[in-house]
Each structure stands twice: as structure tokens, then as C-alpha cells.
Symmetry: C2
Subunit: 259 residues, 2 copies
DNA sequence: TGTACATCAGTGAACGCGCGTTCACTGATGTAC
DNA sequence: TGTACATCAGTGAACGCGCGTTCACTGATGTAC
């Protein structure tokens, strides 16, 4: 059981479950309107150029009125960041949860990955805010970390459960086969996935964690390349290409099919 | 044998090899100074916020004087784009060329990939310009395509040569093992790598081309994640992590070691 | 239930700023004879 | 080699613009008695 409406909760801050006055309801609603207008602006302006005055105009109020809701432009950006991360995270969660057969880990994998890309295509402005170049003068506050982690948690938990179910073909051979120089030997232990492993559980082999991080990177690299125009000349059918990539990633992780 | 100084040539346009007058030399030099100042600005401002006036100030001239060299802000951006792509491309080319044993394809692979990351870390502003969010109102002109392709050409040619040398362990099994649904069957032929294959040669198997594109995406995904701050909590030693990724990619491509 | 006061949303004017670009100009550098 | 004219780099003022943020204000909504 999750929060019935995480977006609203995130926007309104720590609003208790108690009854709201009409004024409070109006405030929440207009706050949401401002953020919604800002999201639309984001789709064609880029976060650095996001104009508080333009957003105010879109909502139909005078620019100074926005300061009743957000203390500064940066605070509005933070709200957008939190909202977008939560939106993406819950899209991935829902896609995973929608797969009825929980043991069908490949199905869940593909569903989650497609949901990520689908969300990005539907919200290119938000995607660029989250995964594009950082906004020059802006440093994301602590509050954005938790929602930011939601997507990768979905990915990691699918892998973890697949491992627990024995649906991953052995921990996937480590360096071994390839390794050109002695340098490869120093590699295996040197990577300290402190936080990542905190999210995974110690029973998952290191090599599998590495592979999961790589897959995560490839997914977002692929989506970024698509959205930022780097695949224009090379790939014609981007839908199919994404599925091709997703399947190869599943293979590299050692996922084994149901039957 | 390459152009002795591609950067300068790109900046000055189609300057013939004929002797330059003092005025021409001065013009080229100041053009380069402007671009250099703009690159420095880029490192901390982001392309969308790049200010022509600020650049002029840095160079020590009045803002209108810049218009003797670039007709508009967009034209300056284009010059930056071309310069950066060429810079990155030649860094990768040099790294590959520096590996004495041309049959050591894994060594060349690692060298090229490390050069890409090294360049990105040394020029984060340029990297964000090339691979970060697109600049809102700006559309890159045709002239940027050719230099943009240089990096991927390096990667593709290493793979192609490895294939020709028999240093790639069979064309790497296609879908086969994993494939959950029938959808995987429709995949193999559907991807039309028109341009990519034009760059590769028909003897390279499709699966290998797919894998190369994936590797390319993963490399830039990893670098973007590092530079844009998405690996902060998860990975501690980024140098080692990158090598780990590069080696896994070589393995997935089917590179076989020298001995 | 009714009044008096406090809270709060939204207004409109104003601030100081930096921006891209244009234009008429000055003076130095190059070219033609 | 020397002069007359054309080319070009750089100046400084000006344009119109949109921006983030502040502030004193009005009027509506809520709260306490």
C-alpha cells in the first residue's frame, strides 16, 4: 500500500491527513497548476532557461504572485525535480507490478525498461531535467535523492528476486574470458558499491551488481541518445531498437526464460 | 596522414594553404581566442546560457566586436560544436593509433574508450554541449555531422578490424538463448542500420553491429552518469568502474585476447 | 449567529540587471598604381 | 619606393527586451469571542 497520491503529497509538503480548509485546497490546487505549467514550459525551454515570469503568465497570474507558493526559482525547480523523479519511479513500479506472473522475470524486466523509455518520450522536458546536463547555478538538495532512487530500486529488485528465484543463470562469469592485462585482476574487488549493495542485499554476487549497474547505464544512455538526437542517422526504428537492447541486457545479466 | 591542425582549419573555414597575410593570421588567432574563451565559459554556464557579451569581456573586446568574427551567437555555438567534436574525435583516433601492436584489439579498444572518458573529464563543458540536453532554440547545422561521426568511426573500425583479423569470437550469438516472447524473432531483421552499415562494411555481421552500437551507448551513458552526478552514491572509484565497464563491453562483443 | 480582527492570495509598479544585435564612427592595415 | 584609396578591426552608444525579486497595497477568506 502506497501513498494514494505521492505527487500531491510531495508538492504540498507534510500535509497531514486531517481535513483541509477551502483555502488549503485552493493552495494545493494552484501549486499543482504552477508546477504543471512549468513542466510544459520545460518541454521546450530547458531547465536553465525556465522563466518564472513565463510560468506565471501561463497560469494567469502576475509574476510576483508565484512567490506566495515558491520562495524562488530554485525552489520551483526542486519541486519539478521531485515530481518528475516520483513520476518516473512510479511508472516503472506500476509496469513491474502489472506483470501477473511474478516469476516471469524477463517479462518484468522488459516491462520496467519499456516504461522508463515510454515515460521519457512522453515527458522529454522532465527527462532532460533529470538526466540531461545539470542546471548551471543549481544544486539539487537532499530532498531529491530519495525519489531519484526509485527507478534503480525497481531494476535492482527485479534482479534480486530473479536471483532468489534461481532464474539467473549462475552469477554470470566474472572477468575471466576476456581480460587482456593484469589490470583486470585488480578490478573485481576494487569497486565499492556501498550504497548499491545496501539496496540489494549481500547474497547477490558482485558481478551481478556490476552488470545491473551497467544495464541501468545502458538503458538511460539509449534513451538519452534517442531523445538528444544521436541515433538519428544510425537507427531507423527506435521502438524495435530499444527492445533489441533490452533483450541483450537481459541476456548479459544471465536471465533465463520461464520455460 | 591527417590535416596538421584540424581545429584551426575548422575555425578559419576553407583557408587555402597559400601564405597568409598578417591580417589573416591575426584574424585566425583572435577567432581562436574567442572560441577558447567561450569553451571556458561553457564549463560553468551551460550552452543555453552562454553569453556572447561575457565571452567578449573575457577576450578583452567590446561585445559588438565579436560580430566581426561570428554573425550571431548561434554561429559561435556551431563553431564550438565542430571544435569539440573534432577534439574528441582526434583524441580517440590518437589513442587508438598509439597502440603499437595493431592486432591487440582489446588494447586498442580500452585505449580508445579511456581516451573518450579522459577527454570528457578534461572538458566537461564541451561534453555537456555535445552529449547533454540539446540547446533549446538551436538546431545544429549539417556542418556538425561529419565531425560528430569521428568517434563512432574509431569504435566501429576497431571492431571491423578485429573481425577481419579473426579476433572476435564468432559473430557473437544472436538473440537465441534469452528471447522470452515471439517478439524477439521479429527483431533481428527489423533494425535497419543504414548509415551504420554504410560505415562498417557488409562483411560485419548484424549482431556485431548491434553490439557495437550498444557498447557505444553504454560508454557515453557511463560518462554522462559520471559527469552529471548519477553515480555519486553508488560507485566510489570511478576510474576503476570505467575500466570494469570497458572490459565487460569487450567481452560482450566477443573480443578475444592476444595470447 | 454576528461582529472584529488576523491571515493570506493576488495586484501592479518598480528596482537593477544582462542580454543579442545594430549602427555610425575612427584609425590602422593592406592594395593598386 | 611613395602616395591614394579601399578594406577591415574595434569602439561606444543605443535599441528593446525579459528576467528575478521586492514592496506597499487591496480585498477576500478564515478565526476568536
Amino acid at each position: 500500500m502506497q501513498h494514494p497520491n505521492p505527487e500531491r503529497a510531495a508538492l504540498a509538503g507534510a500535509t497531514p491527513a486531517r481535513a483541509q480548509t477551502a483555502r488549503e485546497r485552493a493552495r494545493d490546487q494552484i501549486t499543482a497548476e504552477i508546477v504543471a505549467a512549468a513542466r510544459i514550459r520545460l518541454a521546450e525551454s530547458g531547465p536553465g532557461e525556465l522563466s518564472l515570469r513565463a510560468v506565471a503568465r501561463d497560469v494567469g497570474m502576475v509574476s510576483s504572485a508565484v512567490y506566495r507558493y515558491f520562495a524562488s526559482r530554485d525552489e520551483l525547480l526542486t519541486a519539478l525535480l521531485v515530481l518528475a523523479y516520483d513520476d518516473l519511479g512510479s511508472a516503472a513500479e506500476r509496469a513491474d507490478a502489472a506483470v501477473a506472473d511474478r516469476a516471469d522475470v524477463i517479462g518484468r524486466w522488459l516491462a520496467a525498461l519499456r516504461a522508463i523509455r515510454g515515460w521519457a518520450l512522453a515527458h522529454p522536458g522532465d527527462y532532460a531535467l533529470l538526466y540531461g546536463s545539470p542546471v548551471p547555478g543549481y544544486a539539487a538538495p537532499q530532498a531529491t535523492i530519495e525519489p531519484a532512487v526509485r527507478v534503480i530500486v525497481v531494476i535492482l529488485s527485479i534482479v534480486t528476486e530473479a536471483h532468489a528465484l534461481g532464474r539467473i543463470a549462475t552469477p554470470t562469469a566474472p572477468a575471466g574470458p576476456v581480460t587482456a592485462a593484469a589490470e583486470m585482476a585488480s578490478v573485481a574487488g576494487a569497486v565499492a558499491f556501498v550504497r548499491a549493495r545496501g539496496l540489494v542485499g549481500d547474497e547477490v554476487p558482485t558481478e551481478l551488481v556490476i552488470r545491473t549497474l551497467m544495464a541501468w547505464t545502458t538503458v538511460f544512455g539509449t534513451v538519452s541518445f534517442e531523445l538528444f538526437g544521436h541515433l538519428v542517422g544510425s537507427v531507423t526504428d527506435l521502438d524495435v531498437y530499444f527492445d533489441v537492447v533490452a533483450s541483450r541486457l537481459a541476456a548479459d545479466l544471465g536471465f533465463s526464460a520461464l520455460r
